[in-house]
Amino acid sequence: MGGMQGFGAATWPGAEEPWHEDWEIRAFALALITGVERLRRNSSRADREEMAPAEYLRVGYFERWVYSTERGVVANGVVTPAEIKAMADRVAGGHAPTPTSDPAQAAHLLAELRRARPLAAAVAPRFGPGAAVRVRRARPVGHNRLPRYLRGCRGRVERIHPGDRVPGGDIEAVYLVRFASCDVFGDDGERCTILADLFESYLEAA
């Protein structure tokens, strides 16, 4: 949605709260636990991006997490769609689900969340600070971190970050790239500077 219009305010009173309903906390924990315990495949963002577009826009943030968690555990064969539907029907029919408490699992999850995961050292970065770069035009399949509104735009390397794994690929250098708004959105609207973190394979020399 970067650079698009018509979606309303980006923030609103109460938006700074991490969640707004109790079920959202459980959805969040469920997504994390199924990930840490390797009960689902690790492709949450790609899964969420496969939601039907109207549904993606209509549902809330944590409903998307529920969607990707469900798809992930089904893909791993941990539960079947029929089991999910059967439980949803029982809950809709008034069944109160049994709360399960597993302190060891909770402790394991917390330990995993607190484990520092330092980024890898920058791998022989191709571009130096100040280098003029252009964002590649692309038609990627699967999840990517290359916003459409920057494709084809010229910018300058502001900083070289440590390396990280590009979605669907290997460890690469990551750059903070600076763009003038006129090189992205033309002369319409207020002038500003746009900073974006971009993987090296998204960039070419300009």
Partner: protein
């Protein structure tokens, strides 16, 4: 406006066509929605599209084609003060309760509408075209706040003038402002990178969307 309606170049929306998609309408109400939108004009193609683009993004994607036309007709009539949303809601409630809507026949209005639809509106010959066939151009980067016919996926892309069509009203401003419209040819790889193949993309673009390369 760079809203959710500008689907060109996007993925994940399913097939562009399906069995039966070639039929102009799929339900009786769609024909009435079409006529309602046309008859309640004044029909201004660009204002019409801008109104449709103001549908909330999720609803825009969920609504059928003629559902959007109906939204446009209602909002345009509300904004000119002809009706209120409350009146529409009240009538919807009466219909839902089983009331049969009153049928109105106005042969004069119908004949006028048909004549307006049948009137040919040829493009005017180009008065002062800035570009000629074969010229290299680049699509301007922009952040349009009203209706535009310049798709996002072409912004910043380089292409070649293939046809000088003629002069037409500028969607981004007003039909009264005219300028030359061109068919511009792009290599798909200049839009989406080297791995998309060798095909060409042609787009009709107004002169103000283009700059010389």
């Amino acid at each position: 406006m760079d809203g959710v309606h500008d689907l060109g170049g996007m993925q994940g929306f399913g097939p562009a066509t399906w069995p039966g998609a070639e039929e102009p309408t799929h339900a009786d109400w769609e024909r009435r929605a079409f006529v309602l939108a046309l008859a309640t004009g004044p029909y201004s193609a660009h204002g019409f599209r801008h109104t449709i683009e103001r549908i909330g993004p999720a609803r825009y994607l969920e609504e059928s084609y003629y559902g959007k036309w109906l939204f446009e007709a209602e909002l345009a009539l509300v904004e000119t003060g002809a009706i209120t949303h409350a009146e529409v809601d009240a009538m919807a409630a009466r219909l839902a309760a089983g009331e049969t809507p009153q049928r109105t026949d106005d042969p004069v209005a119908a004949a006028k509408l048909v004549r307006a639809l049948q009137r040919r509106r040829p493009l005017r010959p180009p008065v002062a075209p800035r570009f000629a066939v074969g010229d290299s151009v680049r699509v301007r980067r922009m952040r349009p706040f009203w209706h535009t016919r310049c798709p996002r996926y072409l912004r910043g892309a380089a292409g070649v003038i293939a046809i000088v069509h003629g002069d037409d009203g500028v969607p981004d401003v007003d039909n009264a402002v005219t300028e030359t419209v061109y068919a511009v040819r792009f290599a798909a790889r200049d839009l989406w990178g080297a791995d998309v193949g060798d095909h060409l993309v042609h787009a009709d673009l107004w002169q103000r969307y283009l700059e010389p390369v």
